[in-house]
């Protein structure tokens, strides 16, 4: 009797886990099915045409997301890595370290729309960056920091302590030790974590609705103070605020490109991580 109940429970757990994974597959299949009509080379490479959505493409949205990603790599990732270096290499067990750790933890769970509010008040208005690529990059960099920090802390901690000691014993300063020994060894882990964080940030929509994305523009942004198009915002507008009967299908197609991008980045990062773990010699 007990045995039977046990096997029922276990079957349930397994079933639920597989359903959860199945859902992922379902999402992709559904989207591809819905967006299949709209997906074409034109769609991927042509600029957006507002009048007749079938004649244009989403190249500006792809480029906009790319610029955003570039901005985050320049601003958010280095700050995140620097904070991780502080936490692992420099901090002592004191109140300041605790405060920083708590701040990171809380930044990770601040609702994205609140980030948007903050960005709108501070970057757009107070600092007069306007609704722009710059404001969006700064807001998304704030969001990405806790994710990058968590991954980088893991990576730095996995570098054996004895290498640091050996380097210090040769007369190296702590900074030379970090630069020449610790960072190169931790770099694959840091890159992996950053890619995953970046993929998540590029899917964020609520903050960029508020601080700068636009649905239609001529050409590409030419400076960091320009507005920009992005894939998630484009998906959102097509899905909810466009009257054309073909809009849902184009929204799905845009979503396919978006998750294609984020999945490729995430899978790439995971493969990198696995390969690296296999190759690791310490």
């Amino acid at each position: 009797m007990v045995r039977r109940r046990e096997s029922i429970y276990f079957f349930l757990f397994r079933f639920v886990a597989y359903v959860a994974v199945g859902f992922l597959v379902l999402v992709v299949l559904l989207l591809v099915k819905l967006g299949a009509d709209a997906l074409s080379l034109t769609f991927l490479t042509k600029p957006w045409s507002h009048r007749d959505i079938a004649s244009g493409g989403i190249i500006q949205a792809i480029a906009g997301s790319f610029y955003l990603g570039l901005g985050i790599v320049v601003v958010g990732v280095p700050l995140g890595v620097a904070t991780a270096i502080y936490l692992v290499e420099y901090s002592r067990e004191n109140v300041w370290k605790r405060i920083i750790e708590l701040a990171i933890q809380n930044l990770a769970s601040v609702p994205s729309v609140v980030y948007g509010l903050f960005g709108f008040a501070v970057f757009v208005n107070l600092l007069r960056f306007g609704s722009s690529l710059l404001s969006a990059v700064l807001v998304l960099s704030m969001m990405v920091m806790p994710w990058v920090i968590t991954a980088a802390v893991e990576a730095l901690k996995s570098v054996p302590r004895r290498w640091r000691e050996s380097s210090l014993a040769l007369g190296a300063s702590r900074w030379s030790t970090i630069r020449r020994i610790v960072l190169p060894a931790a770099m694959p882990g840091i890159i992996t974590g950053s890619i995953i964080g970046l993929a998540r940030a590029l899917g964020e929509t609520a903050p960029i609705i508020i601080v700068g994305a636009t649905f239609y523009m001529n050409g590409l942004p030419t400076s960091v103070f320009d507005k920009f198009m992005t894939l998630p915002y484009h998906t959102f507008i097509l899905a909810t605020q466009h009257a054309d009967p073909k809009a849902p299908s184009y929204a799905a197609a845009t979503a396919v490109v978006l998750i294609g991008l984020t999945f490729c980045m995430s899978v790439g990062a995971m493969v990198l991580r696995t390969l690296y773990r296999r190759r690791r010699e310490w």
């Binding site: 999402v27 620097a82 904070t83 901090s91 509010l117 998906t235 984020t262």
Partner: protein, 291 residues
Amino acid sequence: MFRLYRFEKSRYVFTALATVTVVCLAGIFFFLASVGLGAFRQISLREFLFGLVWNPTAYGSVSWGIGALLMGTVLVSVTALVVAVPIGLAVAIYLSELASPRAREFIKPAVEMISSIPSVVLGLLGLLFFAPLIARLFGLTNALNALTAALLVAIAALPTIASICDDALSSVPARYREASLALGASQWETIRKAVLPAAKSGLLAGILLGFARIIGETMIVLMVAGNSVAFPRSLLDPVRPLAANIAIEIKEVVIGSLHWQALFAIGLMLFMLTFILNLLADVLVRKKLKA
């Protein structure tokens, strides 16, 4: 007696860079509070929290009650939590206790991948697929309502809950399991009576953090919750949760106006809620570490 200590310029540089995180968090709080609290010079806290009508742009008599919006948030969040917690726990138990290493290596990344589905994509799926499905199931003409939103938000929060709970379960020392099995307990009894209690505070922390994620979810509720400021009477009514309300209205308001301040006050509420959930989770995790 002295403490061995060495001056390092790089230490100061990195301490300063790390402080950016604290500045960001403090900055968020400061701006939300400084703008948001301004609203209460003209709106009474009672009207704000318990008023049922949110109509900031009405001609004549404006009204600032977030009751209906709050109810929307509560309906969606609680339903989502009720759906996501059992599933998240089941996935976590499967991953940490039952799955073979190979299955784990495949399922764990898959769960991580779910968390990388942008919420706007989930919202789109809701619009195009889930809402029609639920409409047919319940015989509704339009299923953009709290229930549809809650189901999708539950999916968005599932990976958070599953992976933190998995960490909590996996960190239970093997000797707990061995001791229980050695006493003749079945595997299920071992999980229920030894492993789950030992991981209790970690599991609760995972649920709290999942809840924080649920409350802050914006895009899904913006797209599929129905966007109605009327007070909802059931799960099948359309709602407009707090986060969606901010996203909808913030671009339309005059900067510095009372409406602007009121939206920041809502933002402050959301921030404080997630902040408190986070602190609770942190306390739980620390308590466990000490024990």
